[in-house]
Symmetry: C2
Subunit: 117 residues, 2 copies
DNA sequence: TAGGGTTATGTTCCTGAAAACATAACGGAG
DNA sequence: CTCCGTTATGTTTTCAGGAACATAACCCTA
């Protein structure tokens, strides 16, 4: 296999007591944005529709305006897409992730040098 | 109650496939450093000794040199303390956390403005 | 040599989150 | 007016991580 240096940083944003946004929901939002479907987005992540929908529901309840809007029925059965708020939330998450990778590079490298194996 | 704006960033460092270091183990290391005891450190976090010890074991297995060294018996029954490696690992984690807080402040504020309630 | 506080380790029980399974509603197209 | 793919929601089952419980080993001191 490839080198696959799986030593990396993971970011999670906590909102209040229970709501949060981490790598999973972020990736799900991206898939919804790209596919226009909660079903397809979930499938792309090996996740059941119910779970994907549940995550979307949680996100929608977290923000003042919904992050994903959905439609039932119609030509293609329906669909889903990100709102402006959803796009903004996703962008902010990815931005913080990028900044984290940058500023954390040195310390992360130092930690790598201490690893076993 | 106080304002308690619980909107914050959480950092986790992934090493390889299963080993990781997050807020829990970091705090535990700090308590061990400060108390010289796994038992006391665990208690300070409302955690059983077994669990605390298990986390330490995992950490020790993650790095080339142990992060915590222990002693059994003796005047005070024994104890535990951080090694140079342990102190370094902790310092790096806290440093990345601090940097993250700094560089993420703006985007985090923007996200706060989108929250419900 | 007994006591005390700690490390070390095993076993069983609980619980909350995810998976699995099931069903209904929707609405454009043909 | 039926079909299709999707959203929406409920119920049951599974499972892994933690909690709870139990016990042994260690070693300095008094």
């Amino acid at each position: 296999v490839m080198d696959e240096d799986a030593t990396r940083l993971r970011l999670r944003i906590l909102f209040g007591s229970n709501a949060m946004l981490g790598p999973g929901k972020a990736e799900l939002l991206e898939h919804i944005r790209d596919t226009g479907s909660i079903t397809a987005a979930g499938a792309a992540m090996g996740m059941s529709y119910k779970r994907a929908w549940s995550l979307v529901e949680t996100l929608n309840a977290t923000f003042r305006e919904p992050v994903v809007v959905t439609a039932r029925g119609g030509v293609k059965g329906g669909g889903a897409q990100l709102t402006e708020t959803g796009l903004a939330v996703l962008a902010h998450y990815r931005r913080i992730e990028d900044l984290l990778r940058e500023v954390g590079a040195d310390d992360l490298a130092a930690l790598r040098a201490l690893l076993a194996e």
